[in-house]
Amino acid sequence: MSAERTLLVGTGKGLFILERNGSEWSMEGPHFAGLGVFAAMLDRRVGRKRIWAAPQSFHFGAELSFSDNGGKTWTNPEERLIKFPVDTEKSLENIWQIAPGAKDDTLFVGVAPAAIFQTLDNGETWSLSRGLWDHPHCKEWTPGFGGLAVHTIVTDKADPNSIKIAISTGGVYQTADGGRTWNASNKGVKAYFLPDPFPEFGQCVHKIIRHPAKKDTFFLQNHHGVYRSRDGATTWDEIESGLPSNFGFGITATDSGSVFIVPLEADAKRFTCEGKLRVYRTRDEGESWEPLTNGLPQENAFEVVLRDAMGSTENEVYFGTKNGKLFGSTNDGDSWEQIQGSLPEIYCVNVY
């Protein structure tokens, strides 16, 4: 956990921890061998080195676990940390997101069925966020291919009461009061699969991210559609000019403000356009896009990058594919190297 760069790579068969010192990568794992790991997070706040992970057993369900020793041992609590209360009449299906709250002991997880759980004591106790669960829209959200989940949680270090989330299929919601009340925030985002293509909610938003330096600027990868908001994720404008397709899942931004996506052909053709693995980068907040190909296969490359399988920090970008390839760039996407080529299906790439 003291490497120059650490990656937590969650896959269909476990969690891998990669570390780089100089130009050399090391990798160990899989942790939770045989289990899917859809979410992971390294908490380095207030001197911690705690790795959180959300392994999902096909048979025995999903759970939340952590390690304070770099993955040598993991907690395995008798009673699971994340459980739906009896009165909800629901049971946990999967954990899609682990996100730090604004306060040092606060964490959120986004789960399926669509809900948020939070802890105020660094994971000792967790509770269902009733404000979202009791929202009148909740009963009208519908599952997508991956289920019905809160898969994205964006918190604000400067404002603990401000949280944005994304739900498939429900759209973007945000709270300004710490989660007591939530409002749909999908104005301008299309839902081509509904009779009203611009409903208040019901969009299949695949991922949202905040601009690294601009508090009110957000980017959104939709189920067909790429958008930007400059008013705190309230209204959205299309930014698709120059892209080969507006379908995709992952989206990430480096500290310079460059934004990266990997377009796929279409929802019915979920693989990279024309069999070329191209990352598209915008350096002007979506006014224009450029394909990045240096070091990426440009023939017979039918890849899919899932919603959490892109990550970045400083000027480094990493992404993993469903075919188990892990790529990285240390120069804001100008060139890429393949770091691993035969991992299990990659669900999430977290960069530290």
Binding site: H59, F60, E78, K90, S91, L92
Partner: protein
């Protein structure tokens, strides 16, 4: 007579390594037996049952060789001295 519970090997990490337990009762249903099982092996509960105390979709519980989901689930009435098997289903990817 005790009811004997057999666990699949995949559940050993939640049962202290045990795969066979004799539970003396009294119990009149599969659910009664499992409540006694959870008392001695509490980590098994959340792996076998959902948050709503239902048998997980990909876990099978057999009583005298019959699938409890095709009987009366956890309310299935049992006789003293029977055998219960808990397996992970033959499913997955």
């Amino acid at each position: 007579m005790p009811t004997t519970v057999f666990l699949s090997g995949h559940l050993k990490e939640f049962s202290g390594g045990l795969t066979e337990l004799d539970l003396s009762g009294p119990h009149s249903t599969i659910g009664d037996v499992l409540e006694q099982l959870w008392a001695s092996q509490p980590a098994l509960r959340d792996r076998v049952l959902t948050d709503q105390s239902e048998i997980r979709e990909h876990v099978n519980i057999f009583y005298l060789g019959r699938d409890a989901k095709r009987l009366d689930g956890l309310n299935t009435v049992i006789e003293p001295g029977g055998e219960i098997h808990i397996f992970n289903a033959v499913s997955g990817g």
